[in-house]
Symmetry: C2
Subunit: 310 residues, 2 copies
């Protein structure tokens, strides 16, 4: 079984409007609601690939109840091990301008999580680790949690002998990296913020020096750059694609975990992650992947080894 | 008891953001959630004024459940006679730009209401009419309802001998007016759309010819214009005020109904409506009114009779 942890889960709401006009009133022509947060998105992809997957994190209030209801109905195969919290799960609202395709995003901060709730989550997590082959820690921290929250969860996973992937940003990433996660998956901006370097190869090497065993940087249309103990690789789709990038990073996480759980070597992990990510961009629905495109892309992703010039 | 009907109830969400930037991602710094829809807003004001008040309309899905929970906790004294519906109650999201104070609004369409649900609402409404002194029909129609829905509810109220106020727009207003409601409360734009005239006095007279027994037009900072069988009046606050106009129109409805239930003459009804409306603009929280300001304004609103020049 694979476990994903989403401490700040979200009810993802997407509004389609004919054209976004600041300070005007808009009739929303189309509303989509999904259970969200990076770890939940990755879990949906993992379940669709046929993996047994469990999600934990916090859920509370009316929005938390709706998230859990939708998880049961919209994410078949994903086991719900979310921990109840007194505050309300946040909404994230994406407003898509139908004319330009551009998205304007509004993210609520999330519930304030208390010490007892955080202790319960750690207990649940520790117990779940007994039966999982890999774990991913995903997304932002809700208010109230210590900034070293992920660092603690990483140490617990390492003590249990479970490989752990960290996908977060800012100070939570910095503190998490120091706890020596097996993989981090920053995007270019997150990697630059962590290391101070805007040169991805140099920055990835620096992130490894700071504690990450392997770094897989998602560089948008340039594909993935992996800096690992086994070597350095770049993985790129056969051509640049246009589409909806929402959830593409979560599909990278799903691809890496899926291949890690099957003990595949790095080039195969990267091919799977890059193909899933590209197939997610190609799917019109945010966070879904186009299965036909994924299967076709698997054989087309170019994974090239790189000599470390640094 | 006073009854308000809100066929398209809403969960009103307000986001405060530092500055609205189209196509960017925003951290919401403050989230407010209220049970909403025009009739529910008016009912809250009526309850705060000490009236017994019942609300009906439709509520469904997770958002409908949250609306009803919040109605119980946030609107003490308002009796919930909402009718369950299979679809989900809509959200309305107002994004307030903290820098400029401007609001950008996103309104979901609302649930599709089926014929059986509509029939149930009509039965509940008919039964409630047996014990009410006045009824207000408020807001837009959800998808699925006949455009003449309000006209039918008006005829039922008239048959029961209950005075009925209609506050809607577009074709629902046009059809409703023909069913001879006791009062309509259009704003300047709604009145112009109904009559084709942008001159409020002439337009109000025309709306009465179309069937409305009395017309109270809310003209924003210019106050109220009432065209009634007893005379024509203008009611204006002592000075223009600045603030949040959200809910000001619903407070006009509450003021008119409150005074109607007490059998007050038109000038007193208008003074109450104008004072409540102005006190709502003065309250920083959307849809709330400043009670101290209301009590002070009651004696300061100028109600002036006008000779009909038309």
């Amino acid at each position: 079984m694979i476990l994903t942890v989403t401490l700040n889960t979200a009810l993802d709401i997407t509004y389609r409007v004919p054209s976004l006009k600041p300070h005007a009133s808009h009739r929303v022509s189309e509303v989509t609601v999904r259970p969200g947060g990076k770890g939940i998105n990755a879990a949906r992809v993992l379940a669709a690939l046929g993996h047994e997957v469990t999600v934990t994190g916090f859920a509370g209030g009316a929005t938390g109840r709706e998230l859990r209801d939708r998880l049961a109905s919209q994410a078949p195969g994903v086991v719900d091990a979310l921990v109840p919290v007194a505050g309300a799960t946040r909404r994230t609202t994406a407003v898509v301008d139908a004319r330009t395709g551009d998205t304007t995003q509004f993210n609520e901060p999330g519930p304030v999580v208390g010490p007892a709730e955080w202790a319960t989550l750690q207990d649940v997590y520790k117990e779940l680790l007994g039966s999982v082959s890999a774990v991913a820690l995903c997304g932002s921290l809700p208010p109230g949690l210590p900034v070293g929250a992920y660092a603690g969860l990483i140490r617990t996973a390492r003590a249990a002998g479970v490989p752990v992937l960290l996908d977060t940003s800012g100070e939570a990433l910095r503190r998490g990296v120091a706890a020596r996660p097996d993989i981090i998956k920053p995007n270019a901006a997150e990697l630059a913020e962590l290391t101070g370097s805007h040169e991805p190869l140099r920055a990835a090497q620096d992130a490894r020096r700071r504690g990450a065993r392997a770094v897989v940087a998602s560089l948008g249309a340039d594909g993935l750059l992996a800096h690992t103990p086994d070597g350095i690789w770049r993985a790129a789709p056969p051509a640049r694609v246009q589409g909806n990038p929402t959830g593409a990073g979560d599909s990278v996480v799903a691809g890496l975990l899926s291949a890690l759980a099957e003990n595949l070597p790095w080039p195969d992990r990267l091919a799977r992650a890059a193909a899933l990510s590209t197939a997610t961009v190609l799917s019109p629905a945010a966070g879904e992947f186009d299965r036909q495109a994924y299967e076709k892309l698997l054989g087309q992703v170019a994974v090239t080894a790189e000599v470390n010039a640094a």
